[in-house]
Amino acid sequence: MKDIAVIIPVHELKDDTEKELLIRAINNVKACQKYYEHNLTTYIVTPLDLGVDKSYDCKVLINDGATDFCSQINFAAKNVTEDYFSILEFDDEYNEKWFSMVNKYFYTNEDVSLFLPINVQIISKDGYRQFANETPWALEFSQELGYIDFKCLANYYGFNITGGVFNRNDFNRIGGLKSSIQIAFNYEFLLRLTNKKLKVFVVPKEGYKHIIDRDNSLTDICSDKYTQEEVDKWYALAQKEYAYDEDRNITIYTETDNKE
């Protein structure tokens, strides 16, 4: 697997707490480096000059274009130099051994385009833990234990791609993430990837930790922003759009829109 670019997309830093979280994320990557035999390079992709590059030993990619999550990742994936990259949301963290664990699986699965971790999702209020991405390890979920294939995605869309290790060439070749798919961009990307017979493997290790209920987190914003009807329609749209490599900027219309 060798060197990996860790991309931290930062749209804005609202307050000191968010700045602290970013510093913590950068330090988290440094902690991962202790267990990983190749280089991990942290890239902050941001529209702003946050002034953290020299003092925190990371690279900054200034993005003058769109600054939604998908556009930031697409921009970074085109500009980093490593063959593999991973996405770290700055309020999340890697298990420090994640990259060394994924490396063990890489050598017997070199043809895999995306290695996903089992994500641990924590509700900070009560400490409740749940997993994401674990289902491919259930018998008969997909055709091969541990793999996400196109067929299993017909009935299940709860996968997270953050923390995953992407083959950069494959990512760029199929068009990256589609901003217009909004809440279902993860799902659409996996459909597109697997439809092209590219492999997605879930490393059976807890590699990534996400706090579900932090204020202003991406999940938090999404859960407030969308109605169930909208969620359903975005996922239905993803099931149509995966056939296209480019983002066609198709949108959805809901009952509420029609009334308006």
């Binding site: 060394s100 833990r129 059976p204």
Partner: protein, 393 residues
């Protein structure tokens, strides 16, 4: 007249000694038909037979099956499309242990005339007191050696008031020091040797990284259900975990599943050695085991305490909790090095190299003892002849 008889006896003894020295004798193993059900005791016997065969000894497996079809009968039945009675077929071990074991020569002693000579060696499994009796009754002239793997089988079939010396049995090869101690505590006159089992190289650390599956090795389905269902009820977060029941699989498939999986749960109260547990450890599985009634020697330290090559419990109800802890640690790559180091130690105890060395040593010592015993008989006959010739009374 007596001189001629004695001289002929000396001639026969010399011939037997020469046969033993020149590897011109047979080693027989009595076996039962496994009927394709894997069995670690039988696997040990076949492993021993195969190793001896590879060392160029003449080995034959003996079994008893009344009314077994001859090849001609079977051919006729198949040709005419007639029903075949499976109870009249010797199925053997080919499907689960492998063809190289099935190909060792077999003989049905219910049908064929079994001729045995004084230089031959017959290994009898500990449970077969009936065969010990038959070979004693018909004065089989070979050296008879009992293979003792599980002391509890000794008491299963032997009639009350009878012991091995009543069958003229004085030699035993035990698989552990514990078994040897147990047999000598009841039959102190036995000449004993220890031949520790081998964990064949098919059970090895895999090259591929592990899959998150839990292998189950339990003596019956009820125990497996109890563990799995309780685990899912108590730990719904782990409902995605897949269990693989390893009972009744071919050895190749069994080893493959062990190599693939990360964790093995092992419950076998009656095992005297715990082959399956060691096989799992050899395949780099984290082992969660219920301590058997007779604690195998590889599980303990010199002071008798349990060592760290597995996660042990005396209470089957604890297994789901231990399993959840182990899965959690494994998923975070936090398995303690104390455990993995002890697993490495356990793997060095029963290697193929040690096994081959031990087999050679045990068989050579049986042969040497037999030669010495013949020489001693020969010398006492010669002494008799000399005394008679000299008129000594």
């Amino acid at each position: 007249m007596s001189d001629i008889k004695d001289l002929k006896a000396i001639e026969r003894i010399e011939e037997s000694i020469s046969n033993l020295k020149n590897n011109n004798f047979n080693i027989y193993f009595f076996v039962v038909d496994s009927r394709n059900v894997p069995n670690s005791s039988l696997a040990f016997i076949y492993e021993l037979a195969k190793t001896l065969q590879d060392k160029k000894y003449n080995v034959t497996m003996l079994y008893q099956l009344q009314g077994e079809y001859t090849e001609a009968e079977l051919y006729k039945k198949k040709k005419k499309g007639r029903q075949i009675d499976p109870s009249k077929l010797f199925i053997g071990v080919g499907d689960w242990l492998g063809q190289e074991y099935a190909k060792i020569p077999h003989m049905n002693i219910s049908h064929a005339q079994w001729k045995v000579s004084p230089s031959d060696i017959l290994f009898i499994p500990e449970a077969f007191s009936s065969l010990m009796f038959q070979t004693y009754q018909y004065k089989a002239p070979c050296r008879r050696v009992v293979l003792l793997q599980n002391f509890s089988y000794v008491t299963d079939f032997i009639p009350f008031g009878i012991e091995w010396k009543n069958y003229g049995i004085y030699d035993v090869v035990a698989t552990t020091k514990q078994q040897e101690t147990l047999i000598k505590s009841v039959f102190p006159y036995m000449r004993s040797k220890i031949l520790s089992p081998v964990i064949p190289s098919i059970f090895r650390k895999p090259i591929e990284p592990k899959k998150l599956t839990v292998n189950l090795i339990t003596s019956d389905q009820r125990i497996a259900n109890r563990i799995v269902k309780t685990f899912y009820w108590k730990y719904p977060i782990y409902k995605f975990i897949s269990f693989v029941d390893l009972r009744n699989r071919s050895r190749e498939e069994y080893a493959e599943k062990l190599r693939e999986g990360a964790i093995t749960v092992w419950v076998d109260n009656d095992t005297p050695f715990g082959h399956s547990a060691l096989e799992a450890i050899a395949c780099d599985n984290i082992l969660i085991g219920k301590v058997p009634e007779m604690v195998p020697e590889w599980m303990t330290n010199e002071d008798g305490t349990l060592n760290d090559c597995g996660v042990w419990t005396y209470d089957i109800n604890m297994i789901p909790d231990l399993l959840a802890n182990v899965i959690g640690a494994w998923m975070q790559d936090n398995i303690p090095s104390q455990l993995t180091d002890a697993m490495t130690d356990a793997n060095t105890k029963y290697t193929t190299e040690k096994w081959e060395e031990n087999v050679e040593s045990v068989i050579s010592s049986i042969i040497d003892e037999q030669i010495k015993s013949f020489e001693s008989i020969k010398s006492s006959i010669q002494k008799n002849i000399t005394n008679e010739n000299e008129g000594v009374e």
